[in-house]
Protein backbone atom coordinates (compact mmCIF):
# COMPACT_ATOMS: atom_id res chain seq x y z
CA UNK A 1 0.00 0.00 0.00
CA UNK A 2 1.28 3.41 -0.93
CA UNK A 3 -0.11 6.67 0.38
CA UNK A 4 -0.17 8.72 -2.75
CA UNK A 5 -2.56 11.13 -4.33
CA UNK A 6 -5.74 9.47 -5.48
CA UNK A 7 -6.97 10.35 -8.94
CA UNK A 8 -10.57 11.23 -9.59
CA UNK A 9 -10.87 8.34 -11.98
CA UNK A 10 -10.07 6.05 -9.08
CA UNK A 11 -12.61 7.62 -6.75
CA UNK A 12 -15.29 7.33 -9.40
CA UNK A 13 -14.54 3.65 -9.66
CA UNK A 14 -14.54 3.21 -5.90
CA UNK A 15 -18.12 4.41 -5.93
CA UNK A 16 -18.95 1.85 -8.58
CA UNK A 17 -17.20 -0.92 -6.68
CA UNK A 18 -19.23 -0.04 -3.63
CA UNK A 19 -22.41 -0.30 -5.65
CA UNK A 20 -21.32 -3.68 -7.00
CA UNK A 21 -20.47 -4.96 -3.55
CA UNK A 22 -23.84 -3.92 -2.21
CA UNK A 23 -25.47 -5.83 -5.04
CA UNK A 24 -23.38 -8.91 -4.26
CA UNK A 25 -24.24 -8.60 -0.59
CA UNK A 26 -27.92 -8.45 -1.45
CA UNK A 27 -27.37 -11.75 -3.26
CA UNK A 28 -25.65 -13.21 -0.21
CA UNK A 29 -22.28 -13.54 -1.89
CA UNK A 30 -19.64 -13.68 0.85
CA UNK A 31 -16.39 -13.63 -1.09
CA UNK A 32 -15.42 -12.27 -4.47
CA UNK A 33 -12.23 -12.22 -6.52
CA UNK A 34 -11.14 -9.24 -8.57
CA UNK A 35 -11.47 -11.54 -11.57
CA UNK A 36 -15.10 -12.26 -10.80
CA UNK A 37 -15.88 -8.59 -10.12
CA UNK A 38 -14.19 -7.65 -13.37
CA UNK A 39 -16.19 -10.16 -15.38
CA UNK A 40 -19.50 -9.21 -13.83
CA UNK A 41 -19.00 -5.54 -14.31
CA UNK A 42 -16.76 -5.31 -17.34
CA UNK A 43 -13.74 -3.87 -15.67
CA UNK A 44 -10.10 -4.93 -15.71
CA UNK A 45 -9.16 -7.06 -12.74
CA UNK A 46 -5.73 -5.51 -12.35
CA UNK A 47 -7.29 -2.09 -12.19
CA UNK A 48 -9.62 -3.15 -9.41
CA UNK A 49 -6.73 -4.60 -7.44
CA UNK A 50 -4.62 -1.51 -7.99
CA UNK A 51 -7.42 0.82 -6.98
CA UNK A 52 -8.05 -1.08 -3.77
CA UNK A 53 -4.37 -1.53 -2.99
CA UNK A 54 -3.98 2.21 -2.69
CA UNK A 55 -5.94 2.08 0.55
CA UNK A 56 -4.73 -1.11 2.15
CA UNK A 57 -4.37 -4.83 1.62
CA UNK A 58 -7.96 -5.96 1.77
CA UNK A 59 -7.64 -9.20 -0.15
CA UNK A 60 -6.54 -12.68 0.80
CA UNK A 61 -4.25 -14.34 -1.71
CA UNK A 62 -5.69 -17.46 -3.19
CA UNK A 63 -9.17 -16.48 -1.98
CA UNK A 64 -10.22 -12.96 -2.91
CA UNK A 65 -12.03 -10.24 -0.99
CA UNK A 66 -14.58 -10.57 1.77
CA UNK A 67 -17.59 -8.78 0.35
CA UNK A 68 -18.93 -7.31 3.55
CA UNK A 69 -15.55 -6.25 4.89
CA UNK A 70 -14.59 -4.61 1.64
CA UNK A 71 -17.95 -2.88 1.45
CA UNK A 72 -17.43 -1.50 4.93
CA UNK A 73 -13.92 -0.36 4.09
CA UNK A 74 -15.04 1.42 0.94
CA UNK A 75 -17.86 3.08 2.84
CA UNK A 76 -15.36 4.55 5.27
CA UNK A 77 -12.85 5.46 2.54
CA UNK A 78 -15.54 7.33 0.63
CA UNK A 79 -16.64 9.08 3.80
CA UNK A 80 -20.11 7.59 3.55
CA UNK A 81 -20.08 6.35 7.13
CA UNK A 82 -20.83 9.92 8.22
CA UNK A 83 -23.96 11.72 7.06
CA UNK A 84 -23.70 14.66 4.67
CA UNK A 85 -26.11 17.55 4.53
CA UNK A 86 -26.80 19.43 1.31
CA UNK A 87 -28.21 22.78 0.28
CA UNK A 88 -29.72 23.23 -3.15
CA UNK A 89 -29.38 26.66 -4.73
CA UNK A 90 -32.01 27.32 -7.36
CA UNK A 91 -35.63 26.28 -6.98
CA UNK A 92 -36.36 25.87 -10.67
CA UNK A 93 -37.27 22.66 -12.42
CA UNK A 94 -34.01 20.93 -11.76
CA UNK A 95 -33.43 22.20 -8.24
CA UNK A 96 -36.93 21.21 -7.18
CA UNK A 97 -36.54 17.76 -8.69
CA UNK A 98 -33.23 17.26 -6.94
CA UNK A 99 -34.79 18.30 -3.65
CA UNK A 100 -37.12 15.35 -3.94
CA UNK A 101 -34.67 12.94 -5.54
CA UNK A 102 -34.75 9.53 -3.86
CA UNK A 103 -31.08 8.84 -4.56
CA UNK A 104 -29.63 11.01 -1.81
CA UNK A 105 -30.26 8.75 1.12
CA UNK A 106 -28.55 5.73 -0.38
CA UNK A 107 -25.28 7.66 -0.09
CA UNK A 108 -26.07 8.98 3.39
CA UNK A 109 -26.91 12.47 2.11
CA UNK A 110 -29.92 14.55 3.00
CA UNK A 111 -31.21 17.78 1.54
CA UNK A 112 -31.82 20.23 4.35
CA UNK A 113 -32.39 23.50 2.53
CA UNK A 114 -33.41 25.02 -0.80
CA UNK A 115 -32.45 28.59 -1.63
CA UNK A 116 -33.32 31.07 -4.37
CA UNK A 117 -33.20 34.79 -5.06
CA UNK A 118 -36.52 34.98 -6.91
CA UNK A 119 -39.18 36.50 -4.59
CA UNK A 120 -41.83 34.45 -6.41
CA UNK A 121 -40.09 31.24 -5.41
CA UNK A 122 -39.26 32.12 -1.81
CA UNK A 123 -41.83 30.69 0.55
CA UNK A 124 -42.86 27.90 -1.79
CA UNK A 125 -42.43 24.29 -0.80
CA UNK A 126 -40.74 22.23 -3.48
CA UNK A 127 -39.88 18.62 -4.23
CA UNK A 128 -41.42 15.38 -3.08
CA UNK A 129 -40.84 16.27 0.57
CA UNK A 130 -41.98 19.89 0.25
CA UNK A 131 -38.87 21.71 1.41
CA UNK A 132 -39.30 25.43 2.06
CA UNK A 133 -37.52 27.76 -0.36
CA UNK A 134 -35.53 30.38 1.53
CA UNK A 135 -33.83 33.55 0.35
CA UNK A 136 -30.20 33.03 -0.62
CA UNK A 137 -29.18 35.60 2.00
CA UNK A 138 -30.03 33.01 4.63
CA UNK A 139 -27.49 30.56 3.27
CA UNK A 140 -24.57 31.43 5.47
CA UNK A 141 -26.64 31.26 8.64
CA UNK A 142 -28.42 28.05 7.71
CA UNK A 143 -25.16 26.37 6.67
CA UNK A 144 -23.91 26.90 10.18
CA UNK A 145 -27.11 26.00 11.98
CA UNK A 146 -27.78 22.92 9.91
CA UNK A 147 -24.17 21.83 9.47
CA UNK A 148 -24.43 21.82 5.70
CA UNK A 149 -21.29 20.60 3.96
CA UNK A 150 -22.35 20.27 0.31
CA UNK A 151 -24.05 22.68 -2.08
CA UNK A 152 -25.83 21.91 -5.32
CA UNK A 153 -25.90 24.70 -7.89
CA UNK A 154 -28.98 24.50 -10.07
CA UNK A 155 -29.21 28.01 -11.48
CA UNK A 156 -28.74 29.39 -15.02
CA UNK A 157 -25.17 29.54 -16.29
CA UNK A 158 -24.92 33.30 -16.08
CA UNK A 159 -25.62 33.32 -12.33
CA UNK A 160 -23.51 30.31 -11.44
CA UNK A 161 -20.18 31.94 -10.57
CA UNK A 162 -21.86 34.51 -8.37
CA UNK A 163 -23.77 31.76 -6.58
CA UNK A 164 -20.57 29.77 -6.21
CA UNK A 165 -18.92 32.74 -4.53
CA UNK A 166 -21.80 33.02 -2.09
CA UNK A 167 -21.59 29.30 -1.40
CA UNK A 168 -17.85 29.48 -0.77
CA UNK A 169 -18.32 32.51 1.47
CA UNK A 170 -20.67 30.39 3.53
CA UNK A 171 -17.80 27.98 4.09
CA UNK A 172 -18.88 25.11 1.86
CA UNK A 173 -16.03 23.06 0.40
CA UNK A 174 -17.83 20.63 -1.91
CA UNK A 175 -20.14 21.65 -4.74
CA UNK A 176 -22.14 19.76 -7.32
CA UNK A 177 -22.74 22.09 -10.25
CA UNK A 178 -25.48 21.63 -12.84
CA UNK A 179 -25.07 25.03 -14.47
CA UNK A 180 -23.57 24.96 -17.97
CA UNK A 181 -20.65 27.18 -17.05
CA UNK A 182 -16.98 27.01 -16.20
CA UNK A 183 -16.61 27.91 -12.53
CA UNK A 184 -13.53 29.10 -10.70
CA UNK A 185 -13.26 27.59 -7.24
CA UNK A 186 -11.02 28.92 -4.51
CA UNK A 187 -8.22 26.80 -3.13
CA UNK A 188 -9.53 23.87 -1.14
CA UNK A 189 -12.96 23.84 -2.75
CA UNK A 190 -14.00 20.88 -4.85
CA UNK A 191 -16.49 21.27 -7.69
CA UNK A 192 -18.04 18.50 -9.68
CA UNK A 193 -19.89 19.68 -12.75
CA UNK A 194 -22.66 17.81 -14.50
CA UNK A 195 -23.00 19.55 -17.82
CA UNK A 196 -26.12 18.39 -19.63
CA UNK A 197 -25.41 20.63 -22.61
CA UNK A 198 -22.06 18.96 -23.22
CA UNK A 199 -23.65 15.54 -22.86
CA UNK A 200 -26.41 16.32 -25.31
CA UNK A 201 -24.09 17.84 -27.86
CA UNK A 202 -21.79 14.84 -27.69
CA UNK A 203 -24.76 12.61 -28.43
CA UNK A 204 -25.65 14.88 -31.32
CA UNK A 205 -22.11 14.54 -32.67
CA UNK A 206 -22.43 10.78 -32.52
CA UNK A 207 -25.69 10.86 -34.45
CA UNK A 208 -24.12 13.14 -37.04
CA UNK A 209 -21.37 10.64 -37.88
CA UNK A 210 -22.80 7.15 -37.67
CA UNK A 211 -20.06 5.66 -39.85
CA UNK A 212 -16.90 6.23 -37.84
CA UNK A 213 -18.22 7.70 -34.68
CA UNK A 214 -15.69 7.03 -31.94
CA UNK A 215 -12.69 5.16 -30.79
CA UNK A 216 -14.17 2.30 -28.85
CA UNK A 217 -11.59 2.04 -26.16
CA UNK A 218 -12.45 -1.27 -24.64
CA UNK A 219 -14.42 -3.18 -27.21
CA UNK A 220 -16.54 -4.73 -24.52
CA UNK A 221 -19.53 -2.47 -24.79
CA UNK A 222 -19.24 -1.22 -21.27
CA UNK A 223 -16.66 1.45 -21.11
CA UNK A 224 -18.56 3.31 -18.46
CA UNK A 225 -16.28 3.20 -15.51
CA UNK A 226 -13.39 1.25 -16.87
CA UNK A 227 -11.74 3.96 -18.86
CA UNK A 228 -11.10 7.64 -18.89
CA UNK A 229 -14.06 8.68 -21.00
CA UNK A 230 -15.80 8.60 -17.66
CA UNK A 231 -19.47 7.91 -17.98
CA UNK A 232 -19.83 7.06 -21.60
CA UNK A 233 -20.62 3.80 -23.21
CA UNK A 234 -20.53 2.97 -26.84
CA UNK A 235 -20.39 -0.06 -29.00
Amino acid sequence: MKREKISELTTNRLSVYLRCLNALLANSVATVSSQRLAEDFNLNSAQIRKDLAQFGEFGVRGVGYDVRALRDHLTVILGLDRPHRAAIIGAGNLGSALAGYYGWSASNFSVVGVFDTDPDKIGLHVGANAILVQPLENLSRVVEEEMIDVAVIAVPGAAAQSVLNTVMDAGIKAVLNFAPARLYPRFGVKIKTVDLTVSLETLSFFLARPAAPYVNQTGNGLATYSNKTNGDEHS
Copy 2:
Protein backbone atom coordinates in the same frame (compact mmCIF):
# COMPACT_ATOMS: atom_id res chain seq x y z
CA MET B 1 -6.22 17.67 -41.32
CA LYS B 2 -6.45 13.97 -40.67
CA ARG B 3 -9.64 11.96 -40.75
CA GLU B 4 -9.16 9.81 -37.71
CA LYS B 5 -11.33 8.62 -34.91
CA ILE B 6 -12.39 11.42 -32.64
CA SER B 7 -12.14 10.79 -28.92
CA GLU B 8 -14.94 11.63 -26.57
CA LEU B 9 -12.67 13.99 -24.71
CA THR B 10 -12.38 15.99 -27.89
CA THR B 11 -16.11 16.10 -28.55
CA ASN B 12 -16.74 17.28 -25.01
CA ARG B 13 -14.33 20.12 -25.60
CA LEU B 14 -15.89 20.97 -28.95
CA SER B 15 -19.12 21.59 -27.10
CA VAL B 16 -17.30 23.89 -24.71
CA TYR B 17 -15.59 25.74 -27.54
CA LEU B 18 -18.96 26.31 -29.15
CA ARG B 19 -20.27 27.76 -25.93
CA CYS B 20 -17.25 30.05 -25.69
CA LEU B 21 -17.64 31.20 -29.27
CA ASN B 22 -21.28 32.02 -28.72
CA ALA B 23 -20.29 34.11 -25.73
CA LEU B 24 -17.65 35.94 -27.79
CA LEU B 25 -20.17 36.51 -30.55
CA ALA B 26 -22.59 38.00 -28.06
CA ASN B 27 -19.79 40.40 -27.14
CA SER B 28 -19.26 41.27 -30.81
CA VAL B 29 -15.78 39.76 -30.96
CA ALA B 30 -15.03 38.99 -34.60
CA THR B 31 -11.70 37.19 -34.42
CA VAL B 32 -10.02 35.11 -31.75
CA SER B 33 -6.69 33.33 -31.43
CA SER B 34 -6.28 29.97 -29.76
CA GLN B 35 -4.08 31.77 -27.28
CA ARG B 36 -6.83 34.18 -26.36
CA LEU B 37 -9.43 31.42 -26.12
CA ALA B 38 -7.09 29.41 -23.94
CA GLU B 39 -6.51 32.29 -21.56
CA ASP B 40 -10.15 33.22 -21.26
CA PHE B 41 -11.27 29.70 -20.59
CA ASN B 42 -8.26 28.08 -18.97
CA LEU B 43 -7.45 25.61 -21.67
CA ASN B 44 -4.21 24.81 -23.43
CA SER B 45 -3.90 26.61 -26.76
CA ALA B 46 -2.18 23.70 -28.50
CA GLN B 47 -5.03 21.45 -27.51
CA ILE B 48 -7.59 23.81 -28.98
CA ARG B 49 -5.66 23.97 -32.24
CA LYS B 50 -5.25 20.20 -32.33
CA ASP B 51 -8.92 19.60 -31.65
CA LEU B 52 -10.00 21.96 -34.39
CA ALA B 53 -7.39 20.74 -36.85
CA GLN B 54 -9.00 17.32 -36.82
CA PHE B 55 -11.91 18.75 -38.77
CA GLY B 56 -10.25 21.20 -41.14
CA GLU B 57 -8.01 24.21 -41.33
CA PHE B 58 -10.26 26.87 -39.91
CA GLY B 59 -7.62 29.33 -38.79
CA VAL B 60 -5.63 31.99 -40.57
CA ARG B 61 -1.94 32.07 -39.66
CA GLY B 62 -0.90 35.29 -38.10
CA VAL B 63 -4.52 36.19 -37.40
CA GLY B 64 -6.52 33.51 -35.63
CA TYR B 65 -10.03 32.19 -36.12
CA ASP B 66 -13.10 34.02 -37.39
CA VAL B 67 -15.52 33.67 -34.51
CA ARG B 68 -18.72 33.42 -36.52
CA ALA B 69 -17.30 31.08 -39.13
CA LEU B 70 -15.82 28.77 -36.51
CA ARG B 71 -19.05 28.84 -34.56
CA ASP B 72 -20.94 27.78 -37.68
CA HIS B 73 -18.43 25.04 -38.44
CA LEU B 74 -18.63 23.62 -34.92
CA THR B 75 -22.41 23.73 -35.07
CA VAL B 76 -22.35 21.55 -38.17
CA ILE B 77 -19.62 19.26 -36.83
CA LEU B 78 -21.62 18.64 -33.68
CA GLY B 79 -24.75 18.03 -35.74
CA LEU B 80 -26.55 20.91 -34.08
CA ASP B 81 -27.63 22.42 -37.39
CA ARG B 82 -30.35 19.80 -37.55
CA PRO B 83 -33.00 19.55 -34.85
CA HIS B 84 -33.06 16.56 -32.50
CA ARG B 85 -36.14 15.13 -30.89
CA ALA B 86 -36.04 13.42 -27.53
CA ALA B 87 -38.19 11.03 -25.55
CA ILE B 88 -37.94 10.90 -21.78
CA ILE B 89 -38.53 7.56 -20.11
CA GLY B 90 -39.61 7.89 -16.52
CA ALA B 91 -42.02 10.54 -15.30
CA GLY B 92 -40.67 10.78 -11.76
CA ASN B 93 -39.05 13.82 -10.22
CA LEU B 94 -36.09 13.89 -12.51
CA GLY B 95 -37.88 12.94 -15.72
CA SER B 96 -40.53 15.58 -15.15
CA ALA B 97 -37.94 18.24 -14.44
CA LEU B 98 -36.02 17.33 -17.57
CA ALA B 99 -39.23 17.56 -19.61
CA GLY B 100 -39.46 21.21 -18.65
CA TYR B 101 -35.74 21.96 -18.68
CA TYR B 102 -34.98 25.16 -20.54
CA GLY B 103 -31.57 23.99 -21.73
CA TRP B 104 -32.79 21.74 -24.54
CA SER B 105 -33.57 24.36 -27.10
CA ALA B 106 -30.17 26.03 -26.97
CA SER B 107 -28.76 22.84 -28.49
CA ASN B 108 -31.59 22.47 -30.99
CA PHE B 109 -33.24 19.67 -29.03
CA SER B 110 -36.89 19.36 -28.17
CA VAL B 111 -38.69 16.96 -25.87
CA VAL B 112 -41.60 15.43 -27.75
CA GLY B 113 -42.71 12.63 -25.48
CA VAL B 114 -42.64 11.36 -21.91
CA PHE B 115 -43.19 7.69 -21.16
CA ASP B 116 -43.74 5.59 -18.07
CA THR B 117 -45.06 2.19 -17.05
CA ASP B 118 -46.78 3.34 -13.86
CA PRO B 119 -50.57 3.54 -14.45
CA ASP B 120 -50.76 6.35 -11.90
CA LYS B 121 -48.42 8.47 -13.99
CA ILE B 122 -49.88 7.76 -17.42
CA GLY B 123 -52.25 10.50 -18.48
CA LEU B 124 -50.63 13.14 -16.30
CA HIS B 125 -49.08 16.24 -17.83
CA VAL B 126 -45.58 16.91 -16.51
CA GLY B 127 -42.93 19.58 -16.71
CA ALA B 128 -43.11 23.26 -17.40
CA ASN B 129 -44.77 22.67 -20.77
CA ALA B 130 -47.18 20.01 -19.51
CA ILE B 131 -46.23 17.08 -21.73
CA LEU B 132 -48.59 14.11 -21.63
CA VAL B 133 -47.20 10.94 -20.04
CA GLN B 134 -47.81 7.95 -22.28
CA PRO B 135 -47.47 4.24 -21.66
CA LEU B 136 -44.04 2.87 -22.54
CA GLU B 137 -45.69 0.47 -24.98
CA ASN B 138 -46.35 3.45 -27.22
CA LEU B 139 -42.66 4.23 -27.51
CA SER B 140 -41.89 2.38 -30.70
CA ARG B 141 -44.86 3.90 -32.54
CA VAL B 142 -44.24 7.43 -31.30
CA VAL B 143 -40.54 7.23 -32.11
CA GLU B 144 -41.46 6.60 -35.70
CA GLU B 145 -44.29 9.11 -35.91
CA GLU B 146 -42.39 11.88 -34.17
CA MET B 147 -38.95 11.10 -35.60
CA ILE B 148 -37.43 10.76 -32.15
CA ASP B 149 -33.67 10.12 -32.23
CA VAL B 150 -32.63 10.49 -28.60
CA ALA B 151 -33.91 8.87 -25.42
CA VAL B 152 -33.38 9.98 -21.84
CA ILE B 153 -33.54 7.26 -19.21
CA ALA B 154 -34.76 8.61 -15.88
CA VAL B 155 -35.91 5.46 -14.11
CA PRO B 156 -34.56 3.60 -11.06
CA GLY B 157 -31.36 1.66 -11.58
CA ALA B 158 -33.02 -1.73 -11.40
CA ALA B 159 -35.29 -0.95 -14.35
CA ALA B 160 -32.72 0.80 -16.51
CA GLN B 161 -31.38 -2.08 -18.60
CA SER B 162 -34.88 -3.28 -19.43
CA VAL B 163 -35.86 0.25 -20.45
CA LEU B 164 -32.69 0.56 -22.52
CA ASN B 165 -33.60 -2.63 -24.37
CA THR B 166 -37.04 -1.23 -25.16
CA VAL B 167 -35.46 2.02 -26.31
CA MET B 168 -33.02 0.20 -28.59
CA ASP B 169 -35.83 -1.98 -29.94
CA ALA B 170 -37.57 1.23 -30.93
CA GLY B 171 -34.54 2.07 -33.06
CA ILE B 172 -32.99 4.81 -30.96
CA LYS B 173 -29.22 5.09 -31.24
CA ALA B 174 -28.37 7.79 -28.70
CA VAL B 175 -29.25 7.62 -25.02
CA LEU B 176 -28.69 9.90 -22.07
CA ASN B 177 -28.85 7.78 -18.93
CA PHE B 178 -29.50 9.15 -15.44
CA ALA B 179 -30.02 5.78 -13.79
CA PRO B 180 -27.25 4.72 -11.42
CA ALA B 181 -26.51 1.52 -13.30
CA ARG B 182 -24.05 0.05 -15.76
CA LEU B 183 -25.90 -0.44 -19.04
CA TYR B 184 -25.00 -2.70 -21.92
CA PRO B 185 -25.69 -1.10 -25.28
CA ARG B 186 -25.89 -2.98 -28.55
CA PHE B 187 -23.44 -2.26 -31.32
CA GLY B 188 -23.97 1.16 -32.83
CA VAL B 189 -25.80 2.58 -29.83
CA LYS B 190 -24.23 5.42 -27.87
CA ILE B 191 -24.95 5.90 -24.18
CA LYS B 192 -23.92 8.80 -22.06
CA THR B 193 -24.42 8.25 -18.38
CA VAL B 194 -24.83 10.98 -15.78
CA ASP B 195 -24.37 9.20 -12.48
CA LEU B 196 -25.32 11.44 -9.60
CA THR B 197 -24.47 8.78 -7.06
CA VAL B 198 -20.89 8.58 -8.27
CA SER B 199 -20.63 12.38 -8.28
CA LEU B 200 -21.93 12.68 -4.75
CA GLU B 201 -19.73 9.93 -3.41
CA THR B 202 -16.68 11.50 -5.00
CA LEU B 203 -17.51 14.75 -3.24
CA SER B 204 -17.90 12.82 -0.02
CA PHE B 205 -14.46 11.30 -0.53
CA PHE B 206 -13.01 14.75 -0.97
CA LEU B 207 -14.59 15.94 2.25
CA ALA B 208 -13.28 12.88 4.06
CA ARG B 209 -9.64 13.68 3.23
CA PRO B 210 -9.19 17.43 3.27
CA ALA B 211 -5.43 17.16 3.71
CA ALA B 212 -4.25 15.41 0.56
CA PRO B 213 -7.41 15.16 -1.40
CA TYR B 214 -6.46 14.94 -5.06
CA VAL B 215 -3.88 15.33 -7.71
CA ASN B 216 -4.53 18.79 -9.03
CA GLN B 217 -3.71 18.21 -12.62
CA THR B 218 -3.52 21.74 -13.89
CA GLY B 219 -2.93 23.97 -10.93
CA ASN B 220 -5.03 26.67 -12.49
CA GLY B 221 -8.23 26.01 -10.62
CA LEU B 222 -10.19 25.26 -13.73
CA ALA B 223 -9.55 21.73 -14.76
CA THR B 224 -13.08 21.29 -15.98
CA TYR B 225 -12.66 20.75 -19.64
CA SER B 226 -8.94 20.92 -20.02
CA ASN B 227 -8.11 17.49 -18.77
CA LYS B 228 -9.40 13.99 -18.59
CA THR B 229 -11.10 14.23 -15.25
CA ASN B 230 -13.91 15.55 -17.33
CA GLY B 231 -16.21 17.78 -15.42
CA ASP B 232 -14.39 18.23 -12.20
CA GLU B 233 -12.72 21.25 -10.81
CA HIS B 234 -10.59 21.47 -7.77
CA SER B 235 -8.06 23.76 -6.32
